[in-house]
């Protein structure tokens, strides 16, 4: 067997010096660049792309916040500054197609950049992976999660905000897993509590935290795995499960991690 080759991710700059352009830009996002848990998701996703030798690249040190949290917190100036700076970088590399593991980056790049001059074909990684499977480029092999109960927690900015409910569920079904819906799901999905810049502040006074409220649904569905598709949901769901002392029974994984683990990557 081939020895595990060194894990490598090219940057746009690397490719540009060779006069090459990738098929797609992997927009990593701040959380998936810096948050320890979310970094594992970036790695899992990159490993999947590496495993099928897909030609992709990241911006690396040229990437900067999309401006989503600033915009949602009311700082439109900062958002537009970030957006225009990023658009200049993206235009410099003539980027056409972007994939990201963060629904906040996805929503902002897809919906809010066009009127500032940035027009790209933007996909969430669940949509991108599903497309790779449909095209026959990615095969789901092995049955790590066969028969396992998996619930999907809809991220607001993928679900309600952009009405993508099916791609993540299709991926879970590709794993031969048993998809168990949470009581509040799809268009009625309950937010994890971190959107709209809440991730960066304490919540207002109330009876309980939103991620703890969400655990009512999780405890009712009793899944083996809560699958997420957002780095903020990852933090909130992980903390929620811990607050109920259920971290040994219920694991929280990103969709990319499930596929990477299933494919032994």
């Amino acid at each position: 067997m081939e020895q595990e080759s060194a894990f490598k991710v090219s940057t746009m700059a690397d490719l540009a010096t060779k006069g090459e352009k990738p098929e797609v830009l992997f927009w990593v996002g701040c959380a998936a660049s810096f948050d320890d848990r979310a970094k594992k998701v970036s790695k899992a996703f990159a490993k999947i792309l590496n495993s099928i030798a897909l030609n992709y690249a990241i911006l690396g040190t040229e990437e900067s916040c999309t401006g989503d949290p600033a915009k949602r917190a009311g700082n439109e100036f900062l958002f537009q500054m970030q957006a225009m700076t990023n658009i200049q970088v993206l235009e410099g590399y003539e980027v056409k197609k972007i994939v990201t593991t963060c629904p906040h980056c996805f929503n902002t790049l897809k919906n809010e950049y066009p009127s500032l001059g940035g027009n790209y074909d933007v996909m969430h990684h669940s949509q991108f992976l599903q497309a790779l499977i449909d095209e026959g480029r990615l095969k789901i092999e092995g049955g790590t999660f066969k028969g396992k109960k998996i619930s999907f927690h809809d991220p607001c900015y993928l679900g309600r905000a952009n009405e993508e409910y099916e791609a993540p569920r299709a991926l879970i079904q590709e794993l031969d897993a048993d998809l168990v819906e949470l009581k509040r799901c799809k268009s009625k999905g309950l937010c994890c509590g971190a959107g709209g810049a809440q991730m960066f502040k304490e919540s207002e006074a109330g009876e309980k935290e939103i991620n703890v409220e969400r655990m009512d649904d999780v405890e009712e569905a009793k899944p083996d795995v809560v699958a997420v598709g957002c780095p903020f949901c990852m933090t909130m769901m992980t903390d929620g499960v811990k607050s109920k002392e259920k971290e040994h029974e219920i694991k929280v994984y990103d969709l990319a991690e499930l596929i990477a683990e299933n494919n032994n990557l």
Partner: protein, 439 residues
């Protein structure tokens, strides 16, 4: 034509004039909002209005209240055909003037009105029970205490009384027809009123005429008064629901507007040829405010949203902040917006355009704590059966807090600084962004 017809004509005219005046006032209030062009994508808008407003597609997401609401809605629309006849009879002094031109179809119509009147009656009684006896959480939030609760009960009780008057009128008419009374030509089919008030046939002709006329007048005066109650009530949604859905957002819910006023300034900062010391271009209009502090900073659609809200609370029931006991309730945002707009309208009527009462929607009605509890998850927008967008008002007020008043929660101010300095909401260097690859 007798004295009764003249009295009726005056009542009708008075009711129409009164209503028109109030409509004018509401329309004036809505137009206090900033202009926004929503006349694009007409066919999509019509489609959405047919589906969501006329078709009630969002209502049935909650099956019990949805189906009951459809009964009242269909009953209201269909029984209004009968109103045409009642008004014509009232003016001309005729009785059931549609009967002879319509023939057997008239019997079928009256039959359906009777059944619908009963169903409306039934639905309103269930609604009253749901609001006052069953402990349904969404009707019990703090913004519903006092007038909003009374308003809801008035609407339901008036509808019940009107339906009763309608059925009593029909029952007396039917009894008079059976007795062969003059003027009461045989017409109509009365399955429900016959069942409810069958004993009317035992009454004298004079008593029955008294009951029939009494119920007729009670019903029509009640309808005219109810019409004029609408502009003062949350029940105004029966009119505004349709245009409100028509003009609602068609883009993905996650797409927030990019403020044009900001765009101009940011573009200038990115323009290497711009002269930073250049005097601003001469302009008659004062610089635009960033975000919304008062209702007049909102756009007309956001103000129409406020008048379209019937305070059902589906938004608040779905809101993650409301569900976990935070101060925020999207329904309250809409109710506050309407209350403040009505107040601003009254000040305008009383003191003219330049009077400032020193109050504002943000601060005097809506607290910062409410605004900062929002996760922008769009659950409220998704839940609204008439496409109201409370989130857009919350966002515009956050913009005012941040960009005009610098009232920013400390942690968020830190987040802004981080993005400005190192391109990430946390304090990590941009040069470390790709480190995850090699860890």
């Amino acid at each position: 034509m007798g004295i009764a017809n003249i009295v009726f004509a005056f009542l009708l005219l008075g009711a129409i004039v009164w209503f028109a005046q109030n409509i004018k006032k509401i329309s004036r209030n809505i137009n206090l909002g900033k202009d926004i062009d929503l006349n694009d994508r007409k066919s999509e808008r019509w489609k959405k209005m047919f589906l969501v407003a006329i078709g009630q597609s969002k209502m049935v997401k909650k099956p019990i209240s949805g189906v009951l609401h459809i009964l009242v809605y269909v009953g209201f629309v269909i029984i209004n055909i009968e109103m045409l006849e009642i008004v014509l009879d009232g003016i001309l002094g005729t009785h059931r003037s549609f009967a002879s031109p319509l023939g057997p179809f008239y019997d079928a119509l009256i039959f359906s009105f009777e059944v619908l009147a009963f169903l409306v009656l039934f639905a309103c009684v269930v609604f009253l029970i749901r609001r006052n006896i069953l402990n349904i959480k969404r009707f019990g939030f703090r913004e519903m205490i006092g007038w909003p609760k009374t308003d809801a009960n008035i609407i339901l009780i008036v509808e019940i009384l009107l339906m009763f008057a309608f059925l009593i009128m029909n029952a007396a008419d039917n009894a008079l027809q059976i007795k062969g009374a003059d003027h009461y030509t045989e017409a109509g089919a009365f399955p429900v009123s016959e069942l409810m008030f069958g004993h009317f046939v035992n009454y004298s002709e004079a008593a029955l005429i008294g009951i029939e006329r009494g119920a007729w007048w009670f019903h029509i005066i009640g309808v005219l008064l109810f019409l004029n109650y609408l502009p003062y009530s949350k029940h105004f949604h029966i009119i505004l629901a349709f245009p409100n859905v028509f003009f609602s957002k068609l883009d993905p819910k996650g797409k927030f507007d990019n403020m044009e006023s900001v765009k101009k300034e940011v573009e200038m900062m990115f323009d290497p040829s711009a002269d930073p010391y250049a005097a601003p271009a001469e302009s008659d209009t004062p610089p635009e405010r960033f975000g919304a502090k008062d209702v007049t900073d909102l756009n007309w659609k956001q103000l129409m949203d406020a008048y379209s809200c019937t305070e059902c609370g589906r938004c608040t029931q779905q809101c993650p902040a409301s569900q976990t006991g935070k101060l925020l309730s999207p329904r309250k945002i809409m109710m506050d917006t309407r209350d403040r707009l009505e107040e601003v309208g009254k000040i305008l009527d009383k003191h003219g355009a330049d009077h400032n009462d020193g109050k504002a929607l943000l601060g005097d009605f809506i607290k910062e704590e409410e605004l900062w509890a929002c996760t922008t998850c769009n659950a409220c927008v998704e839940a609204c059966p008439v496409s109201i967008n409370p989130l857009s008002i919350i966002m515009d007020m956050r913009r005012s807090l941040v960009m005009e008043e610098s009232k920013i929660p400390n942690e968020l101010a830190g987040m802004f600084t981080n993005i400005e300095n190192n391109g990430a909401p946390w304090q990590f260097a941009q040069s470390d962004r790709a480190n995850w690859v090699n860890e």
